[in-house]
């Protein structure tokens, strides 16, 4: 399983994982509550600045970000075409911010730090007899796989470009589906081999 994690240290690496998760949850809610385009745009600008402040560390995710921006423009365009330009703008800003926030988390957070956060959060459940170790591993893996969709797509896109000189686009969706299923199976194997169950 590959990742987007950047080994180039940034200020965000030093921020504890729980704080990052909490910020994402709160900012996500905030962006959802705000529907004034001006305020949203201001918020999105802040997110972009924070992302840019990571410097070269963002490089592994650049292609992902560019494609998200393209999608965001397409959405805005679609809504404008439907005569709801403002709504389009709002959706596009929300999408772009959500993506950048997610990318910032994966670029700078280790997996075991995430697991720690989930285990702490779930600790109360442990008292009533729920096995929280597996649940937090599931939550962590869910975030890893979310990231992995992009990593895998980037690999396929590289393979495509090496052979055709062009980006793969939608043609890669079916291969991506298969690769993700296969990866999940292999990750399952690696876990079984090392954990025994």
């Amino acid at each position: 399983m590959r990742s987007l994690y950047s080994e180039r240290p940034t200020w965000l690496h030093a921020v504890p994982a729980w704080l990052k998760l909490l910020s994402i949850a709160m900012l996500g809610t905030a962006f959802f509550m705000i529907d004034t385009p001006v305020w949203l745009a201001a918020g999105a600008l802040l997110v972009v600045l924070a992302f840019a402040s990571l410097g070269r560390a963002t490089r592994p995710a650049l292609r992902l970000v560019v494609s998200v921006v393209i999608v965001a423009f397409m959405i805005a365009g679609f809504h404008a075409w439907m005569g709801q330009a403002m709504l389009g703008l709002v959706s596009a800003l929300r999408l772009a911010s959500a993506c950048l926030l997610g990318a910032m988390l994966t670029l700078t957070t280790r997996f075991d730090e995430l697991l720690n956060v989930f285990e702490t959060l779930l600790a109360p459940l442990e008292k009533i007899g729920v096995k929280t170790g597996r649940l937090s591993l599931s939550l962590g893996l869910m975030l890893r796989f979310t990231e992995h969709f992009f990593v895998q797509w980037r690999r396929l896109d590289d393979a495509h470009r090496a052979r055709t000189g062009r980006a793969g686009g939608f043609k890669l969706l079916a291969p991506l589906t298969i690769r993700m299923l296969v990866t999940a199976r292999r990750v399952g194997d690696a876990l079984v081999a090392r954990l025994g169950q």
Binding site: F111, D112, R144, V187, A193, G196
Partner: protein
């Protein structure tokens, strides 16, 4: 096996070994093994054979990743189907493809994860993993992203993740394939010096020729089994006697 009185005592005293009994394994449309029986008890065993012969499948059977369609597989007397939870302490696999093995984004986490079956805390595991790396002069690797390593370096990480777990039996699936010369030499020396049982599959016969035992798999059946020098020679002779393979005659290349 489980629950018999005294099993444990006998067990931990006995030498590590693997026992396959009349194993049949189907994967997809391929019947990989058909009634294969094999006892692997020697401290060093080489596994050779053509692509698709079943080397990786054999390893997957031994560490419980494949379930035999018939027959049984036991590791140190434990049936791999029943005693799953005990397996990681008994047997560890270095996967042929590093990307299949590595789960965590950084090297130190990956090594620390190998210690998780032992039940120690995450923090403790991480400390031990760091110490393990430091003892090898690899402190600089601890915080590196696996994604930022070359393929050979990733294979090295896989090896380290296996070594830190320290199971009684090591299954190495083409461990030399991406390692550089110094890496190969030191792995070879380590294998020779190891106290654990080591089973190595490889296409580079030089690495197993001096083993006391080499098993040659051919389409899922044992075609040769004996001292390394003999079996390797027999395999080489067999390969040399085959008509030149059609499958990779590249018209374009030769044109």
């Amino acid at each position: 096996m489980r629950g018999e009185p005294g099993t444990f005592l006998v067990d931990s005293a006995s030498a590590p070994h693997v026992q396959l009994d009349q194993v049949t394994l189907r994967r997809g449309i391929t019947t990989v093994f058909q009634g294969l029986s094999l006892t692997l008890a020697e401290p060093r065993i080489g596994l050779i054979g053509d692509n698709g012969a079943g080397k990786s499948s054999l390893f997957r059977l031994i560490c419980g990743l494949e379930t035999a369609d018939a027959g049984s597989v036991a590791v140190c007397g434990h049936d791999v189907r029943k005693d799953r939870a005990k397996l990681p302490a008994l047997v560890g696999l270095m996967f042929q493809n590093p990307d299949d093995q590595i789960i965590f984004p950084t090297v130190v986490e990956e090594l620390a994860f190998s210690l998780s079956p032992s039940g120690i805390s995450r923090k403790e595991a991480r400390a031990r993993a760091s110490a393990f790396l430091a003892a090898r002069g690899l402190t600089a690797w601890a915080d590196r992203a696996v994604e930022g390593l070359s393929q050979g370096q990733r294979q090295h990480v896989c090896l380290l993740a296996l070594l830190i777990a320290a199971p009684r039996i090591l299954l190495l699936d083409e461990p030399f394939a991406s390692l550089d010369l110094p890496g190969q030499a030191s792995l070879a020396a380590d294998i020779d010096a190891s106290a654990q049982q080591v089973i190595v599959s490889t296409h580079v016969l030089a690495h197993v020729r001096h083993f006391d035992r080499v098993v040659w798999l051919d389409r899922g059946a044992v075609k040769g089994d004996g001292p390394g020098a003999e079996v390797c020679a027999a395999y080489e002779a067999d390969v040399a006697a085959r008509p030149r393979r059609m499958n990779s005659v590249p018209a374009e290349m030769a044109s």
